[in-house]
Amino acid sequence: MFILVTGGSASGKSAYGERLLMECPEEKKAYIATMLKDGPESLRRIERHRNLRAGKNFYTIEQTHKISDAGKQMQEGSWSAILECLSNLAANEMFSADGTKRESHAIEEEIITQIEALYQRLNTLIIITNNVFEDGISYDASVMEYIRLLGRLNRRLAERADQVIEVVAGIPLLLKERKEP
């Protein structure tokens, strides 16, 4: 089962995704964290998410780049996982700390291939992404390229997904459900 969860910032999409993971029948559950520890704000957010999932018995895997490597940390057995979140992963792959930027179409193909590889290792994959597309602001060219990259990734993953859910004020809205043949 491949599930894509989207929503605005602080919409409750993470909490909803984690609830889905809790309900997964697989015995082993991985929380794949993509956020870079690069400042007090990100440490604060990481701390908040840690508290959010405390006591849920998730196995945390920190994977800021090359997401398929997260699968290598999973031992024998049947796994489900949540990837938190695609928008961080895409930013990490696109922008380097030294201010350089990679071409977005190559990154798009890489991330899709790596997510496919990760999914091969899993029974259920829940991907959290972000709705950053509706503020109408013309950011500088590199930010616009990032926004378009995330848009393309979301569309390809939504097409691939069995279920796509938008979370609004904590309420899940079903955008797509693949009917079993």
Binding site: F133, E134, G136, I147, A158, E159, K176
Partner: protein, 128 residues
């Protein structure tokens, strides 16, 4: 008239072109408006309406009136527009006027449309 709204890069035009792939379609690009809409195509699609509005405003023209009058003459148009209103209201007056105008125009197009859809992650949700 039909209206498709959604954030940037959500696959709106792609969705419309797929939906009407058995028809001949002509895409009128908002950045190039006004263009001649003469042509034999079954379906005409006005894409990037928000860009047309932005350009009209930057020329000091009454964008709302021009767009609505154009659509009155072309009631079978399929209109595609970015959602630009889900952010902080900008301090710059021209930026807030732009969002204000896009929003008002969309409300009126939605009223006149037989169908309104919102596109997110390439998926369509019927609003009307």
């Amino acid at each position: 008239m039909e209206l498709y709204i959604g954030g940037i890069a959500q696959g709106k035009l792609n969705y419309v072109l797929r939906k009407y792939e058995t028809y001949s379609c002509r895409v009128l690009e908002g950045a190039e408006m006004p263009v001649s809409e003469e042509g034999e195509e079954d379906i005409k699609i006005l894409d990037h309406l928000h860009v047309w509005i932005k350009n009209l405003l930057s020329e000091g023209l009454p964008a709302e009136q021009i767009v609505l009058e154009y659509l009155k003459v072309h009631p079978d148009m399929i209109v595609i527009c970015d959602e630009v209103g889900n952010g902080i209201v900008p301090i710059l007056q021209e930026e807030s006027e732009y969002r204000e105008t896009v929003g008002r125009v969309l409300i009126q197009i939605a009223e006149k449309s037989e169908g309104v859809w919102r596109i997110l992650c390439g998926l369509a949700e019927k609003l009307k």
